[in-house]
């Protein structure tokens, strides 16, 4: 069992307090909302994709520390990556936060590994994955808001 300190690590507290890539893109190519009815977490993703790469990404959100920090870390992680790379990262990340048996590969996940702690709090997994579900949907061209329920 992970310690609580592993869930609310300094990185999460810091990204919650001063989220990166926070705000709006003026005239974004893509925009999509995500909503977690359980917690009331809300987020809006703004995206510009250029030649199959995420050229710019920003988000606007209100919610718990896990959801804000996760979105902040996600935007840092996927910015300038290709759409295909972003999707692979999400698949791996989803396993990281749900599969308690999995060894945490700190090299592979970098900062994202700090979110592995939610695996011991099943009701909080959706807080960590809301931004990723929204990203996946917006990249797939969906325009209906994402909800995690």
């Amino acid at each position: 069992m992970l310690d609580l300190k592993d869930l609310y690590q300094e990185v999460i507290v810091d990204h919650n307090r001063s989220p990166r890539n926070f705000g709006k893109i003026e005239h974004p190519q893509k925009i999509l909302e995500g909503f977690n009815p359980l917690c009331g977490d809300r987020l809006t993703l703004y995206l510009n994709v250029d030649d199959g790469r995420i050229a710019d990404i920003k988000f606007d959100a209100s919610g718990c520390a896990i959801s804000i920090a996760s979105a902040s870390l996600m935007t840092e992680e996927v910015k300038r990556k290709s759409v295909a790379e972003a999707e692979t990262i999400f698949t791996d990340f989803h396993e990281l936060v749900t599969d308690s048996g999995q060894q945490i590969d700190f090299d592979k996940f970098g900062k994202l590994a700090v979110l592995a702690g939610v695996r011991d709090y099943p009701s909080r997994v959706k807080c960590a994955t809301l931004c990723w579900h929204t990203l996946q949907a917006v990249l797939a061209g969906d325009d209906t808001p994402v909800t995690t329920e």
């Binding site: 069992m1 609580l4 869930l7 609310y8 507290v13 919650n16 359980l38 917690c39 009331g40 209100s62 919610g63 718990c64 520390a65 896990i66 709090y121 909080r124 807080c127």
Partner: protein
């Protein structure tokens, strides 16, 4: 029952043997994440004493059978226990007759029953239903459905910054089109105890029917439906130390007699032909199908348990817990109580500056402390106070001063993490 433990401090009522009562609740001796469980989510559901757990077990173990239709011994035993429970409920809320006690799944089903049976047969387009801004969704959505079906209109009594109903606004809303007034006796999101007697009298003066949502009141305060003179009263067994899936709808006999059944089936009929069916007498008219027999019997046991302690004593002790918790919360900087009505039940809803209630809930859970975080099925209350959610600690008579101290320590810990 076990002997009381060496006097653990139990608020200022030293005669209240909280440690003794705690022994009756097996779950209270378990650990959560290697810490002793501190259960402060009683407004969501209460824990069950061994007596209730045994009652469920005994039914399935010793006399499981269907009720009302068998002439064999087991069926008679089960029927007798089931109907005895009805009598206990009747006495518990001081109803006039067993006929006025209808077993339903819970408060939610009780309110839906009134909306669909009484509401659909009595309301027309333009008629008005008055609710309050502090209602649980289960006392909002059934009325919205009814409005869609009938063209009736919802009116909402606003609340002030303390979380109290505005009685002046209520009086203004009442008029000759008002048919129904449906409000919570005690609010689950704020803890406010509403002046339900006054609300009822005013509604009756306007010829409206009154429904009280007693989900939060029945476990904490004496309910006397005849003194209140309300027309309907609904509550849930699981918040009253009884099983989930069983609840009670009280209705005045004269009103229930005139209402059509909401479900058809076995048990609710006297005679069925394809031409005509004769409905059964009260309360069976509203109890179609095989009910939750064990649940009813378990609820009766829960009521016995409460009566043995005394609901007034429970209320007094909980009030001391609330007072202690309120004073302790006032010492936590950045903590703001949501709901500071003059008359409050043992519910503490709050927000802590810079900490989302869900993060607080997780941090407390790590120390074995169970509170609720969220909108508490009362989204309009959150909207009123312009917050997405609150943290809520709600106390039962088996909670202690030490547990409240642990809660405060836990909140301080969360503040250190987020500082």
């Amino acid at each position: 029952m076990t002997q009381p433990n060496a006097a653990a401090p139990s608020a200022s009522d030293p005669g209240f043997p909280v440690e003794e009562y705690r022994q009756d609740f097996p779950i209270l001796s378990r650990t959560v994440r290697d810490k002793p469980l501190v259960y402060l989510d009683n407004a969501a559901t209460s824990q069950k004493p061994q007596q209730v757990i045994d009652a469920l077990d005994d039914y399935y173990h010793d006399y499981n059978s269907n009720i009302h239709r068998g002439v064999h011994t087991l069926s008679e035993l089960a029927t007798d226990k089931y109907e005895t429970s009805r009598g206990k409920v009747k006495d518990f809320i001081n109803a006039a007759s067993d006929k006025e006690i209808i077993f339903v799944r819970g408060t939610t089903e009780g309110i839906n029953l009134i909306a669909q049976s009484y509401g659909r047969s009595n309301l027309r387009a333009g008629d008005e239903i008055i609710l309050s801004e502090m209602e649980h969704h289960s006392n909002i959505v059934p009325w919205q459905l009814l409005c869609e079906q009938t063209g009736a209109i919802l009116k909402v009594i606003p609340i002030n910054d303390a979380g109290e109903l505005s009685m002046d606004e209520y009086k203004n809303l009442l008029n000759e089109r008002t048919r129904i007034v449906s409000v919570a006796h005690i609010s689950n999101a704020l803890g406010t105890v509403n002046p339900v007697k006054e609300i009822t009298d005013l509604a009756h003066a306007a010829n409206a029917v009154v429904i009280l949502d007693g989900a939060q009141a029945a476990p904490h305060t004496q309910v006397d439906v005849r003194a209140l003179n309300c027309d309907f009263y609904a509550f849930s067994g699981h918040k009253l130390f009884g099983p989930t899936g069983i609840g009670v709808l009280y209705g005045k006999q004269a009103l229930l007699e005139d209402m059509p059944p909401h479900h058809g089936g076995g048990d609710m009929i006297k005679m069925v032909t394809f031409e005509k069916t004769l409905y059964n007498d009260l309360p069976y008219k509203f109890e179609a199908g095989t009910p939750y027999i064990a649940g009813v019997i378990g609820l009766g046991e829960a009521i016995d348990y409460i009566n043995n302690i005394g609901i007034d004593r429970i209320g007094n002790y909980e009030h001391e817990l609330l007072q202690y918790a309120t004073e302790a919360a006032a010492t936590v900087t950045g903590l703001k109580l949501i709901g500071v009505a003059k008359d409050k039940a043992s519910i503490l809803s709050f927000v802590v500056h810079g900490i989302h209630p869900h993060d607080l809930g997780t941090i407390l859970d790590h120390d074995g402390i169970a509170i609720r975080s969220g909108h508490h099925c009362a989204m309009p209350v959150m909207e009123r106070f312009k917050i997405p959610a609150t943290a809520r600690a709600s106390f039962a008579f088996y909670n202690t001063i030490e547990e409240i101290d642990k809660l405060i320590t836990g909140i301080d810990k969360a503040k250190r993490i987020f500082k």
